[in-house]
Amino acid sequence: MAQFFTIALRNFLKGPTTDPYPFGETYTPENYRGIIAYSPELCIGCGTCEYVCPSGAIKLRHHESGMNFSYWLSTCCHCGNCGYYCPTDAVFNSNDFHTARAQSEKYDATINDDIASVQCSRCDAMIPRAVDALLARAYDEITDTVRHRASLCPDCRRLEQFERMYL
């Protein structure tokens, strides 16, 4: 009973508990899963996010100069699968919850970014680039040899491996 009165008195002194949101600031938890944030400089275009997305909000399309990453907010269910499975943390949920849009903006892609391919350092084939975050997952330390091998296309890497071992 005493505890009840303590809480009642505290609430009486604290003032209204109404969140001032539409007219003021609100509290958003740090790990609230809101609209997706995407950093194209970290993305390797592996397509894992597209594969694990249960509502088909993420699409990766191939074109001449690389790939295109697009994200449609109107069907994203904010499950966080993309961020959980992304090998380089290029996709993650920000804590932005402002999802109210007019009907005219329904089909606008919220994110639409190009992932540029890079040229193989030995031939002129275009390959998806390997970013440091990915190399750090595969190797203990990123040496110049590792970097050099990552800059080769699969065919050139096989050739170079052959030259190193047998010639």
């Binding site: 539409p22 994203c76 904010h78 999802t99």
Partner: protein, 146 residues
Amino acid sequence: MLSRYAVKSPWLFRINTGSCNGCDVELATTALIPRYDVERLGCKYTGSPKHADIVLVTGPITARSESYLIRMLDEIPEPRVVVAIGICPISGGVYRDSYSIRGPLDKFVEVDVNVSGCPIRPQSILDGVAQAIGIWKEKIKIFHKA
């Protein structure tokens, strides 16, 4: 004269078209809990479609609820603002292309505001309702001129 006051207090009406109840819980939260309190914006929930000004639709419009939705929308007088709550009525969400889904909502009625999320945060609902009130004010102005 009534229209001058009507602008300040649109009445909300919600339709559940086979929703998982997540968005409905959030709508109830927005209305009933003093922390979010949608009545600050002058809104009030109504139980009758004939009194509705802003219609909040949740759910992916299942085959069973389709006819009820159409009948309900027929009863709501113009001018009205239709707000799609959650990703289900907007695009079908995770249920898109399912055999029992007749959505999205804009096949049946002209939607004005989309609030996406699964489920949506009460603050986002307040955002959407605030946008809907803005649209409703313009609609009622045009309606009374005509």
